[in-house]
Homo-oligomer: 395 residues x 2
Amino acid sequence: MERPAKVIYLDHAATTAVDPRVVEAMQPYWTERYGNASSIYSLGREAAQAMASARATVADILHCEPKEIIFTSCGSESDNLALRGVAFAQRHRGKGHHIITSSIEHHAVSHTCEQLEKYFDFEVTYLPVDRYAMVDPDEVRRAIRDDTVLISVMTANNEVGTIQPIAEIGRIAHERGIPFHTDAVQAGGALPLDVNDLHVDLLSLSAHKFYGPKGVGVLYVRKGTPLLSMQTGGAHERKRRAGTENVAGIVGLATALKLAYDHAAENNARITALRERLIRGVLESIPDAQLTGHPTQRLPNNASFVFKYIEGESILINLDLLGICASSGSACSSASLEPSHVLLAMGIPAEVAHGSLRLTLGRENTEEDVDYVLQVLPGIVKKLRMMSPLYPGNK
Amino acid sequence: MERPAKVIYLDHAATTAVDPRVVEAMQPYWTERYGNASSIYSLGREAAQAMASARATVADILHCEPKEIIFTSCGSESDNLALRGVAFAQRHRGKGHHIITSSIEHHAVSHTCEQLEKYFDFEVTYLPVDRYAMVDPDEVRRAIRDDTVLISVMTANNEVGTIQPIAEIGRIAHERGIPFHTDAVQAGGALPLDVNDLHVDLLSLSAHKFYGPKGVGVLYVRKGTPLLSMQTGGAHERKRRAGTENVAGIVGLATALKLAYDHAAENNARITALRERLIRGVLESIPDAQLTGHPTQRLPNNASFVFKYIEGESILINLDLLGICASSGSACSSASLEPSHVLLAMGIPAEVAHGSLRLTLGRENTEEDVDYVLQVLPGIVKKLRMMSPLYPGNK
């Protein structure tokens, strides 16, 4: 499989390369410090110590206690554990069976809600969003019922980058004593994650979104939040998530998270400037192009668009031939031919939603990368439109 | 934290060091081939290709189709998915709510069964075992009811090493059309895993038990077996396990599994000889010592004992001071002070079960390692007995 000589990676929302410093931090835990963290001998205690240190690092960044951190295998597991774990625990305590979420969640939340409805008799309210994919906190307030057991709204959308009013929603949830979960997988490494400022009880993260390894995530669970373990077995993670701990991965996650927040301000400033250059350039050079997501309340690295009359997939293939990695939306639903549920929820017509493109910047991107995209993208869109039966000029 | 100059690692059932060849195979997937396997550009296709190749390798060893392999985050997840996934799918289809398992399963199975009973109204039959921890297939046959939806019996016990008559149990399950799961986590890398010979529908593996990385496992699921996904979200793993794939870990798992089976015959022969030397030496040199588990139908690497009048924990601490890593039973329950449920199920009295020691050999162990243990262990046991109020000589 040939890869173009120069790759411009603009899909950091899908995944990131592991930072070499993270690889180095993980290295000793493969062949030397390989002990099982549950074992009592020195080799095991070494592993347990590494885990404790990683847990403290993560807790420090989230402004919580180390014991409120559960290490998981990915953001999807964190979301699933938050939703299933709270829903089943709450129902067992007789609290009810109603869940509130938004209509623009990652599938790890929305499909879990759908399964809880279909197989486990929960009722779910999917809140609408405005044209910028923003949830209105007043809608949350109105949706709350006496039997509401959980509210879950993502911190920032993975497709269009819109940042939600999490703290406000959290305050509303807490007024009513309802646990509040946020999927912060896309926000991790970029936005502040103080769980008290955000008024959240559960928060999901995934290491591979912030230059850590794939296969490891975090679920923060505020002390006292009802949670039924969804992976039972040994007493790992205070009986909330069984399974021999992925020590190397956990060390990698903590190292990556710390690196991200040690340099968040300057990285965000630099990447936001690139994003603005990219957005401005695209909108100026391509007719019938529309920025998707909120114009200002958006992730520093997200530039997402819809281009009328063409298919996002075709753009991607053309970009790939030029060595540019991009996405039409979520990598997790790239096998699907359906238009994005996020774009549809924003009121974008299905035929327009098909023409979506998500460019997500990262640490290694430069102005030259952005300018190269701006140089080639207008031509690609134009060429595809020339071939499109939908394009007015072709009718 | 100081580690003794020379470590003799005899806890391979808890975890293993990653084989350097496995580390090397994973290496490119951190910083170079870091694509998301769901992405359509070349970097993503490279990752998807690596996953496909790993899946084919595992399928080859299990004698199944690649699409019957689900990559998970560990053995515990595999067990949980097998039990929960089949139980809920079967009940949804109106098949019933009765599960059959043994009384010597790993907690990933037994605690999951207990939660299914307590929170989800399933009924579970826990089959007894004989004094060697062996399940009688006739007991399985007798326990089957019209509403039995799943049978789960481990391939080999993690504490005492007894190998179960899986093929026979599988045939009985299949006569009645009941899905049969086996937790093969301890057997992986050592015993043959032909899913057709074993007559199993679901089989769990964990990479870190066979010199692969922690944080990655396998669940084999025979085509047509009802399974409700327990981690919903993206369409990964054919919608049976959502979450961005841990490409490096999966490549590591497949590499480790292949290395294990390429050399299983010679490794097993060498390790079995060491085990016999160890068992013989212990029984000859230490009075009131008893081998636990089956004398011949046992894992090649497992030498497990009970020593009357003393605590297993105390033995471990003394061994650790001499640089010997061992376990009193399962690493996953080492935080517990309860005697092993496996030893109790075998009819060993609680006060004797407290004096358990598990020595599990591995590739790097030598005759010198075994002889060193045989040199120091009798003295440790003697010393502890001198201090024990239970020891008849002290009364």
